[in-house]
Amino acid sequence: MAYTFDFSSIWEYREYLYNGVIGTLRLTLVGTVLGVAIGILGAISRAWKLPVLFPVYTVYVELIRNTPFIVQLFFVFFGLPSLGIHLSEWQAATIAMVLNLGAYSTEIIRAGVESVPKGHIEAASALAMSRFQIFRCVILRQALLKMWPALSSQIVIVMLGSSVCSQISAEELTFGAGFITSRNFRSFEVYFVVTIMYFLLAVGVRRALGLFGRYVLARRAT
Amino acid sequence: MSLVSINGLHKRFGTHHVLKGIDLRVKEGQVTAVIGRSGSGKSTLLRSINGLESFDEGSLDVDGVRITVGQTDLRQLRLKVGMVFQQFNLYPHLTAGQNVMLAPTVVKKTGKQQAEALARDALAKVGLADRFDSFPDQMSGGQQQRVAIARALAMQPKILLCDEITSALDPELVNEVLAVVRKLAEDGMTLIMVTHEMRFAREVGDQLVFMHQGKIHEQGDPKTLFAAPSTPELASFISSVS
């Protein structure tokens, strides 16, 4: 039986795709900002072996990196209510994204922190800067700059992984696609278009992150 | 009759004109020492002779094999020309013996036993007969370079190219390698060597080629040239390396 492709029926539902893209980008943005923040704290904790934080972060990082994202998501959304914590779809998706990126960022930034030449740190100590000051002014900038490519890759990976959040009905692109397929029954066409959209999103986000790295992180003080 | 005949060779790397018309003849059994400052094009010239660098104009004749611009089939050429590198480039996952045996077995389809005998012979010639089963990381730089020479010799080339083969060696190891090369020269091997070892060039070389800014600036008998350079460039080069 010949199948005739029909892409036109997607156009009338385009607002769902549009909202989906916004949703995916929102999730990614919040996930990135909070995730990197967690990652910076985690990087110091692991690199300097801070008490309490070091074991906590170690367990956290290994748990996240050795379990699938979808299981983490389901645990947050379906599992936490048993403890009395009820979250909306949006909240659960965001928390899962933040926790996921936070763990990977910790390791990526830690590698950057540990690669800062000891000489720079010694010079700063000699100038009587506190450990925290040294980190903020000397180490962090260099670490982020060096690891920015790896961090950017991870952010894109997490953005692509957000597609799984559709399974808890979070408002993002895949969920929007599912909604459309339930209306026009053109699963292949819809997902074909959405796949291309994800591809373009990934290209766009990668470029944006590259520009950020070049003009914000690498900016020289004039 | 020249074994190697280079005519009007030009080579550009993008806009950088590295070889500006090289004409060179090398006779069989002759030892040619190529000297010059870094950037003068001497390594590029050497590497053009076995096809590691392509050239943009001119031609190359090696023992009857003619290479023209844009030629990609270099197999016949490389069967006649062997090369030893500054960084040795031994295969780390193979023993010295296996390093030497590899090309004969794979390229010339020599039988295993014959190749092994050939390899032992080549290693003996460079004074490393007892190191057949050693891996490169178990040997000193001088020993590795001698294995590299044996590896090149195992293919029985007509010409051996040596690209600054002692430059990466600690000073005390340089002599053992030069001794091997001297013996090769005495046995009649045709050698073209890019080198900084001026004393060696003067004592063992039959022909000295001084390169400057992509051209052969002076050429002739080493003893004469070292004693009385005709150009200020060669004079200043000699004084800077002595």
């Binding site: 748990l63 299981v71 379906f78 959405v194 591809f199 | -």
Partner: protein
Amino acid sequence: MSDFSLWDIIRNLLLAGRWTVLLSLIAFVCGGLVGIAILMMRTSSARLLRQFAVMYIELFQGTPLLMQLFLLFFGLSLTGMQVSPWLAASVALTLFTSAYLAEIWRGCVEAIPRGQWEASASTAMTYMEQMRHVILPQALRIAVAPTVGFSVQVVKATAVTSIIGFVELTKAGSMISNATFAPFTVYGLIALMYFCLCFPLSLYARRLERKINVSR
């Protein structure tokens, strides 16, 4: 509450876990074989083959795995074929794995110093002879650590196949969670089981990485 004991839950999860392991192995082995083909294309001198390989890799690395799975599942169904979740999951994960492994292995081949290429070329070896006797043996050594590291990603990726109904650990867990009304326990156990599969592989990969770095 629930009339299922903890042991019932664990037992059912373990049984489903077999399928996770099996799917992972299929994806890894088949993905490896396809990956070698993609690698050869990626490093070939034929421009068309090279471009195809580049696009193939960019496609699988630049789109969500879930979309790849859906496209394959719905796409194959359109041809009139009876597509079981097993088939769709296996093919999708195989292609996914092949793209990533090809890139990892290409990196390993490119890490081999140029001098190795030059030395073997100087003794008149052809490209295939160089690859077979000089380059690939060395590249293989470097490739073991990141390949084992990627196996962790493969195991985690199998969880996504639950969405098209393939009954592996995550899908079984969802079903059990609905039946027992104990999602915290069930998803907690699922996470633990994935952890037990992945953590040893992660540790092994890290150990291999250290060994390689020491010998350099």
